[in-house]
Structure formats: C-alpha cells, structure tokens
C-alpha cells in the first residue's frame, strides 16, 4: 500500500506493515507485563548471566520465538500453494522466494541449532558432573553472538530486504549482479556472526567434556547425549569454518567486486562445493544431538540401560566421519562425471548402516523393558517410524541416477523434512519436556503435552507424506504456484491441511508453557526415575550443583545408586575446581557492537565501518585486560585456571 507523508509518497507492503504492528504491539505488551510484575531484575539477571542453565534457557527461548516466525512463513507458503494458480496476499514471485529463503535459513540456523545447543547447555554439564561450562564468559558470548546474527537475518524482513536466493544462496544468483538488494548481505552477515558464536560454543563443549567430568566419569561411562554433543562439537569445529570461508568469499564478490563465483577464473560450482562441504555435516550436526536425546529418553522411560552402548558410540562417530564424505550427493545433476557420482552414491548409502544400528539398538532398548509413555517418550517413539521413512527415502536419493529425477523436487522437500522435523524437532521437543524440570523445577503438563504431540505428529505426516508424490509427479521445489494440469492439487491441498494442524499443535506447546508457569507442579530432583547424574541435583539446577562431588563407578550412576545404595551416590575424595562464574554486560554489549558493525557493511557506510572496527578491536583489548583469576585468587576462592 502507498501513503502520503510530508508531501512524499511512501510504499510499504501490507505484510511488512502488519508484521510491524504485530511486533510493536507484542513488544509493548511484554514491556507492560514485565513492568507490572516488576521482573526487571530477572531480565537483568539473564542478560548478564554466564551460568550454563540460564544461557541454555535463553537459547531455547529465542529458538522458540524464531520457530514461531519461521512457522508462520511455512503456513504462508502452504496457503499460497493450497490450490492451483493461487494469488494469496502478496506471496508470489519475490515475496514467495523471500518467504521460503528465510523459512529455511531461520529453521536451520536459528531454530534447530539453538534448540540443541540450548539443551546441551542445560543438560551436558549436569550429566557429566561439571559445575558449569568450561568457559562461562565465552558461553554467554556464544549466545549473544548467535542472537545478534539471528536478529540480523530476522530484521531484514522489516527493512524490506529479505534474502531471496534460497537458504543455499547459490551463486551466481546470490551475487550482486543478480540480487543487488541488501537481502543477501543480511544473510551473509547474519550467518557469519552467529557462526562465530556456534564455533565458540563447540570449543566450549569440547573443553567441558574433556576437562570437567566428575571423578570416575570415564568417556566410556558418559551418557549418550554427552557423547553426541562431543561428536557434534567436533563436526561444528570442522564444518563451520568452511561456511565462514564461503560466506567471506561471497561477501567479497558482493561488496568488493571480486569474481570468485563468476567470470573467467571463478566458477559458480565452487560455491556449491564449499556450501555443501559445510552443509552436509550441518545436517548431522543438527541430528546427532537429537539421537543423543532419544537414547537417554528411551533408556530412562524403558527402565533399561541403552542397548549396545559401545556400538551406539561407534555409530555416532562413524556417522560424523561419513558426514564429511557425502556432500556431492547434493550436486549429482551438476555433471561432475561418472566416477564422482558413483563414489558419492556409495558413501551416502553407507551412512544407512550406522543409522540402522542406532534404530535397532533403540528398539532393543525398549524390548523387555517397562515402557512408560510420558510425553518425552511419546516424542521419542514417534521419532522412530518417522525418521525411518526419512532414512529410507535418503537411501533412495543416494541412488545417483534416480536422483536425476528426484533432485530439486518436492520428493527432496519431503525427505529432509522427515529427517529434520522427524529427527531434530521431535528430538528437541522430547528434550524440552524431559529436562524442563531441571530448568525450572516443574514439569510441563502431561495432558497438553500429549495433545501437542498427537496434533504435531499426525499433522506432520499429513503435511509431508503427500509431498513425495507431488515430487514424483514433477513438482519442482521453490515454485510459488502450479497449474491444474500438473495434477498435484490434491497432494498440495492435503499438505496444507496438515501444516495448519502442526501449527495448532505448536500453539498447544506454547499454551502448555504458559499454563505450567501459571500453575506449576513442583516435582523434585528426579521426576522421571532418572539414571544419570543430572537427576541427582536439585531442580532447577543451582550454581555449583555437585556438592559433594560424586564418584562415578558405572554407566547410569544414579540408577545404580538407587538399586544398590539407597539412592546415595558415593562421594569423591578429589574434585575438580569450578570454572569462574561472573556476571557481565560485556557479551551482550560486544554482540550489539558486532551487529552494528555488520549493518555498516550491509549499507556500505565506510566511516561507520572504520569507527566500529576500531571499537571492536578496543573491545578485544578491554577483554584481554579483564582478569578474573587474580581477583578470585586474592579472595582465596578455589577455581579452575585453565
């Protein structure tokens, strides 16, 4: 719509206008409620915290908000595609392309990643007997950098410059020649900034797991969620720098006139290689932690230790390794030749073997157990058939010649939603229901949780199962409409119904959180009859939870203690000193600075780039000169000085 102001005519798209109204309205509402309940101190506490549980909660909260945003985009996409030749609102052409680009980007980077990293933050230190993450300050910095990146990508919509080259941002479409608007710069800087946060989080996880396990907690006694976190952290450490490089080069092509991805010497194929060398490990980065969650949940709710612990660990490691050797299966139609295509087809198929091992181990963990179908276990149980469908279509896609047909169709869309929603999202929901008591001291309501589960799962299958057939009937990805002669109306229509069902399911989840806070059922340390160390400490987990420090003598130490020692864990003689907890405005301040710095590049303001660049460097100096150790040592406190 257009409007007159100061004798000038302005144009604003109605969807952006509505989003502004909704954002400002919600923002004011939240401010009012916070003010009325006098909760400013809580907000200050969370903004300056370096405590792993609170940072975990921040990750989960922001992931949930972004999940709602990208979910609304999914509903918009499905509405536009509900019937042939549809003209829904403004979502045709570029607007539609922007919607699916930000849907994908946000769901992968700002929903899947923070959901899992949030759960790692909450659970992993408690599972291995650590007092906190190894580097609490850096942990806060990881979160705020992630959030700065996420806000950059999210604000692009409000600046009417959403990225529009797909979440894969293939060059040369993503270069300045074809998309000169600021949209893809937002994409580059958003992912770059949050990527730094993710790499720091991975380093933190690795050091925490290697250095801060309780006495006796050998690697071979670690819970599987901790193991999957360790493997994931290594995958991040190797894969994310490749994304950093790819985005860096693309930034040079867009902003500084280089031609890495076009022209005589450059090639658009380079982008695809770089992107998928990152991108394929990325899908394992977001599914392996979910595997870990399911292992812990299935074992706890079946009252049995996980079946084939060693083969479970080996399987995760092999999946992680193979994950780096399969990227060309995203590029079968590029024409890289017969040898490349067949080799990558074979390596891709091989991943089915360790994944199959895990599936059967989960099934046999349930066998001869006593399966209590609480909400976390429902999500874990729903995961198995769903993920297996995604897995078998994965093998079908690995068949390179068949992929010439599947590639870039709705068959692929169905496949990766089966793996990512079936794996990551169900896993994250299972984890949230499972560890919620450890975060807040009370459970989410079981009845609402079940309604959430069934609506979401049934809605999911109704949405994505028909998409296999739409793809086989020739529907390409990323199209905003189709004709009646395409004969894909019925598949799309059913799919749209399912999408709204998933939406209602998600509302039940949000409602559940509200109701549970309104009327909490306090549940004590161990609401699920748990097996691992996190259930031995109070809920919500306090700072320095392990006092005295337990001595771990077996896998599932708490379960063993409950069976043989009347629930008392043996006490260790030695204990590792705790990392230094501080409260600091620095992480949030620095991330704000980095965000402004990014904006100065996105809008080409050279003087601001220089000023903010100097400020960023000055910040490094400030941080280098901040010394918490000496102060702590003077006060005579016991601390870890790695």
């Amino acid at each position: 719509m257009t409007f007159e102001l100061f004798n000038r005519t302005f144009f604003i798209a109605t969807d952006v206008l509505l989003a502004y109204i909704a954002l400002i309205g919600t923002g004011l509402g939240v401010l009012y409620l916070v003010n009325r309940a006098n909760k400013w101190s809580v907000i200050k506490d969370y903004v300056t915290t370096t405590h792993h549980r609170k940072i975990g909660v921040l990750y989960l909260l922001s992931a949930t908000l972004f999940f709602l945003r990208a979910g609304i985009e999914a509903l918009i996409i499905r509405t536009q595609l509900a019937v042939p030749e549809n003209d829904f609102w403004v979502f045709q052409g570029d607007k539609f392309n922007e919607a699916f680009t930000t849907h994908g980007t946000i769901m992968i980077f700002f929903v899947a990643m923070p959901l899992l990293i949030g759960l790692m933050n909450v659970a992993v230190p408690l599972q291995i007997g650590a007092q906190d993450m190894a580097f609490p300050y850096m942990n806060a910095l990881s979160f705020w950098l992630f959030l700065a990146g996420a806000i950059l990508v999210n604000m692009s919509f409000f600046m009417t410059a959403s990225p529009n080259a797909g979440w894969t941002a293939y060059a040369p479409l993503s270069t300045a020649e074809f998309t000169p608007e600021a949209g893809n710069d937002y994409y580059i800087f958003g992912l770059q900034v949050s990527g730094v946060g993710t790499i720091l989080a991975a380093i933190n996880m690795i050091v925490t797991i290697v250095r801060h396990r309780a006495p006796g907690m050998k690697m071979t006694r670690m819970p599987l969620f901790a193991w999957s976190t360790l493997v994931t952290a290594f995958l991040i450490l190797i894969a994310f720098p490749v994304l950093t490089i790819a985005l860096y080069i693309l930034m040079f092509d867009r902003l500084f006139g280089t031609s890495f991805f076009s022209g005589e010497a450059g090639s658009p194929i380079y982008w695809q290689h770089l992107f998928w060398i990152f991108g394929h490990p990325e899908v394992y980065i977001i599914v392996i932690p979910a595997f870990g969650i399911f292992s812990d949940v299935i074992s706890t709710f079946s009252k049995k230790r996980v079946f084939g612990y060693t083969s479970m660990v080996v399987a995760i490691v092999i999946i992680g390794l193979l994950g780096f050797m399969v990227w060309v299966h995203h590029m079968f139609t590029v024409g890289l030749g017969p040898v490349v295509n067949t080799v990558f087809a074979i390596t891709t198929m091989l991943i089915a073997v360790p994944t199959g091992i895990k599936i059967f181990n989960w099934l046999f963990t349930m066998r001869k157990g006593v399966i209590h179908l609480g909400t976390p276990m429902l999500f874990a149980a729903g995961f198995i058939p769903t993920f297996v469908i995604g897995g078998v279509t994965g093998v079908m896609l690995a068949v390179a010649a068949a992929d010439f047909q599947f590639h870039d169709t709705y068959f692929v869309v169905a496949h990766f939603h089966y793996t990512m929603v079936g794996g990551t999202v169900l896993g994250a929901f299972a984890g949230i229901y499972y560890w919620f008591p450890k975060m807040f001291g009370f459970k989410l309501k079981d009845g609402l949780g079940k309604a959430h589960f069934w609506l979401f799962l049934i809605g999911f299958h109704i949405t994505f199962f028909p998409q296999h057939f739409a793809g086989l009937n020739g529907m390409p990805r990323r199209v905003y409409t189709y004709t009646a002669e395409d004969n894909i109306f019925i598949f799309n229509f059913i799919s749209t119904i399912g999408a709204f069902m998933m939406g209602i399911g998600t509302l039940f989840f949000v409602w559940n959180i509200y109701k549970s806070f309104k009327n909490p059922d306090r549940c004590g340390n161990d609401p699920w009859n748990g097996r691992t160390l996190e259930w031995s400490v109070p809920s919500p987990a306090p700072e320095h939870p392990f006092d005295p420090m337990p001595q771990v003598t077996t896998i599932d130490p708490l379960w063993e203690a409950k069976r043989n020692r009347g629930g008392k864990l043996p006490v260790a003689n030695t204990s590792r000193s705790a990392p230094i907890d501080v409260t600091s405005w620095q992480p949030v301040g620095f991330s704000g600075l980095i965000m402004l710095f990014s904006l100065s590049f996105i809008y080409h303001v050279t003087w601001l780039q220089i000023v903010l660049g100097i400020m960023v460097l000055a910040f490094f100096a400030l941080r280098t000169l901040t010394d918490e150790h000496t102060k702590m040592a003077r006060e005579g406190e016991d601390h870890d000085n790695i």
Binding site: P172, I269, F332, V334, T342, G356, V370
Partner: protein
Amino acid sequence: MKKIKWLVASLFIFLTGCNLRVLDPKSETARDQSFLIQFSFALMMIVFAIVIILFVWFLSKYRENDQNKDYIPADEKGSPWLEITWTVIPFILLAILAVPTVSITFEQSAQVESTPANAVQIEVTGQQFSWTFSYQNGVETVNNLRLPVDRPVEFTLRSEDIIHSFWIPKLGGKKDLIPGKTRRMIVTPEETGTYQGKCAEFCGREHTKMRFTTTVMEESEYEQWLQEMKEKIE
C-alpha cells in the same frame, strides 16, 4: 492407527502410481531411472516393514501396565550377535542396491564423447526466465520444444545468466545449465505426445514460470514442421 491407515492408502497410490510422471517413462533413460526408484523403494520397504513390526510389537508388549509398573527389568548390556546381524544385513541390502546404481549411474553420468550418427542436434539456452531451442536448420523456438520420435536427440545445454536445470520428467532426469560451461545430454523419445518441461534449479523471481512444452511427433511431421518454420523466417 489413523497414521497407519493413511500410510497404507498412500502406499497404494504409490504402487499404482503409473500416472505419476516420473514413473511413466517415455525413453530408455527415464525407464532406467524409474526402475531404480522402484527397485530401491522395494528394498527399503523390507527395512521399513521390519522396523515397524518390531516397533509395534515391542511397544505393545512391554508397555507399562498395572501388572508390570513396579517391575525392574533385568540389566542387559547388549548382544554382539544381534548387533552384528543388523550391521551385516544392511550391508548386504546396500550391496544389492549398489549394483544397478553403479551401472546405471556410470552410464548416465558419462560425458558424451561421440554423437550417434542419426542424432538430432538441438541447442538449449536457459535464461531468466525462458528457454530457447535452436534447431539444426537455424529455426529457433521459445518455451516450445519439438522432437521426432525414435531418434536420439543430443541437447547442448548452455546458460545465458545463472544456473538453471533442464528437466522433462517423462524423458529423463535433469541436467544443470552452468554459466560458462557446456553440458550435453542424449535421450531417445519412444512415444509421441506432449510432455511438460521445467526449470528445476531455483533461478530467481519467476523461476516458477520457466517452463516449456515438449511435443514428440512422427518423424515426417517433425521434418514438415521444421520446414514450415524455416520458411516463416525467410
């Protein structure tokens, strides 16, 4: 239950899916691909069925009830034999799948060196957001491809601007058009008719509208059409 019913109904559509374009091949290339799709699907259904049977069986048999709710299951670490079983059997299934995969993929991914003697040469140029087809006698058409039946066609694929992907589902899988590079693809249509063609790689604002129709006609009609088009230009 609802889910399972839905699944069975959908599988039925799948198995009788002859009217799905990808599974209704009109050339040898597409037929081989369709065979691979159905073969891999059948193999994978074995896996899927086993998992579902175990899943339903264990979940119903060992679910918590009033009798067993205080029972503590025996500690069970695993079973090497079972674990070896579900490592080896998938390997065997994948080996079975790998044989046709490798042979067909190798053949279909090969760079085209020699052109069949009687091949029709057509140059395909993709640009935002249309297709241009140039025939040997200098005729050019836009978004409208005509082919003779039962003769090999060699497409020479080039892009004017960004990456597109050339796809006629009933005649075979897609091939990307990479700016600055030339790709070749040979297919032999075996039946007359009109088939959809599409750009399968997202290429910008009107990617959706970057479609073309392929008309496969009798050799004589094709020659006549080419002649008429030629006369029109002159």
